[in-house]
């Protein structure tokens, strides 16, 4: 049951992932993946443990960047951005068709897709809202930014 929320989320990217439910821990709606070495060290009052996978709040799942990176390694829906747009994406900006170097997966409207830079590193994910491949001039947004690693900087402000 604990791992179900994660596998459901992964399915949005066309991925089937499996986690050992004994190694997934939930605390206050936050999910963590631990390994065998950490298992004997777990007490109920931990603050953070293993790999943070994401949090569930009011029925919605908010993935961690570690989880997104893990999913990106598995395949699934991914777009690769050029260098400038990768930086703009990290700054919270949406994506135009001309910024997209490659598309892996369905690329269908109203689906989620992982966003990678030219080095194959996962920067976050977005929701496809228009055509991913344009004529190179289109200023119509292809993908809305949902979550990006620039969040680490934004967290430091508070």
């Amino acid at each position: 049951m604990k791992a179900k929320v994660i596998t459901n989320f992964a399915a949005q990217f066309g991925l089937q992932v499996a986690f050992n439910p004994d190694l997934v821990i939930e605390k206050n709606g936050r999910f963590y993946l631990i390994n065998e070495c950490l298992l004997p060290l777990v007490r109920h009052d931990f603050f953070y443990i293993g790999v943070f996978l994401g949090k569930a709040k009011e029925g919605k799942f908010f993935p961690s960047f570690n989880l997104l990176s893990m999913l990106a390694k598995e395949g699934g829906n991914r777009v690769v951005l050029d260098r400038k747009s990768a930086w703009l994406f990290i700054c919270g900006r949406d994506v135009l068709p001309k910024s997209i170097l490659r598309i892996h997966g369905s690329g269908k409207k109203n689906t989620n897709t992982l966003v990678l830079n030219e080095f194959g590193e996962c920067l976050g994910f977005g929701r496809i809202v228009g055509k991913l491949s344009g004529d190179g001039k289109s200023d119509e947004i292809a993908m809305r930014n949902v979550s990006d690693v620039g969040d680490f900087l934004r967290r430091e402000r508070y």
Binding site: L38, F46, F119
Partner: protein, 296 residues
């Protein structure tokens, strides 16, 4: 007993003459996350010019930079961390961390925790403790950004480590300390000898309690960013007299630990410690201790 004159006269008695120091920003490459990637080349392309720190395996000075080193994609992806050069030394002194059970007794904000996780290649386990909940949030963000997977974090005073019922192969005690003027421009204004004495007493308690949780043959690395001998050499002298700990030789940058402190003669083994007066780095002190070595 406080003020710049008071402390500078102490440093002079200890053999060091004060000079202004301008600290350079340093980074540490997270080797586990960088495998097969040309990080230095990528940063150069962004206008971040690096200079290798000769005494650190994965440390670089930021020679000059067109962008903030803390706001690049490479930083956000956990390929490197910003960590002062001297602060990179303690974790590097342990023998073979891989697969070990490690205590980071005063962990936040997590620079040394992520460094140890990197050296361990995320094997074994780190228990990271701190007493400040807000700082634990910063620590957790740091762990997440650096893709650390072998660490559990507790809001716990390291003097209560025994409550975990765990014996550790390695303990890093980067102790809460008085700091130093090189990294705090108001240091001379804010510090008194009473603060130093209070910190030294806390550090001895931490040494006692954390060393009790070491396995036989376990290693403890003690460090502070204080220049005050009460928090450094005198504490190490106290530790080898009162705890089952012996100071180990280390191969690292810095001056030998002081063995004569304000006319008090210490055990010659205290010279095995390393003291870094502010120069290329902030002021720093580090000592490696091993348990159960009294016969050596």
């Amino acid at each position: 007993m406080s003020g710049k004159e008071f402390f500078l006269s102490r440093y002079q008695q200890l053999g060091w003459k004060y000079r202004e120091v301008k600290l350079r920003q340093a980074i540490r490459i997270n080797a586990s996350n960088v495998k097969g990637k040309n990080l230095v080349g990528r940063l150069e392309a962004l206008g971040v010019h690096l200079q290798k720190i000769p005494f650190l395996p994965t440390g670089y000075w930021v020679a000059d930079s067109k962008v903030s080193a803390g706001a690049t994609a490479e930083y956000l992806l956990g390929l490197y961390s910003i960590q002062e050069a001297a602060a990179q030394i303690p974790a590097s002194l342990f023998c073979d961390l891989k697969g070990k059970k490690v205590l980071d007794a005063s962990a936040a904000p997590g620079g040394k925790t992520t460094q140890m996780a990197d050296l361990m290649q995320n094997t074994g386990a780190i228990v990271a403790l701190d007493v400040d909940k807000r700082r634990l949030t910063a620590l957790s963000n740091h762990l997440e950004r650096c893709h650390v997977s072998n660490t559990v974090v507790y809001l716990l005073d390291a003097r209560q480590t025994h409550n975990l019922n765990v014996k550790f192969d390695r303990v890093l005690l980067d102790a809460p300390c008085s700091g130093n003027f090189a990294s705090d421009k108001d240091w001379f204004k804010n510090r008194t000898i009473k603060d130093v004495e209070r910190n030294a007493a806390l550090q001895r308690e931490l040494l006692k309690k954390t060393s009790e949780c070491l396995t036989d043959e376990g290693e403890l690395v003690y460090s502070t960013c204080s220049l005050e001998p009460e928090e450094n050499e005198l504490n190490m002298y106290w530790a080898i007299k009162n705890l089952d700990l012996e100071i180990q030789e280390v191969n690292c940058v810095g001056d030998s630990g002081l063995t004569n402190v304000f006319d008090k003669q210490l055990d010659p083994k205290v010279a095995r410690c390393r003291r870094l007066w502010p120069d290329h780095t902030q002021g720093f002190f580090v000592c490696k201790l091993k348990k159960g070595n009294k016969q050596q």
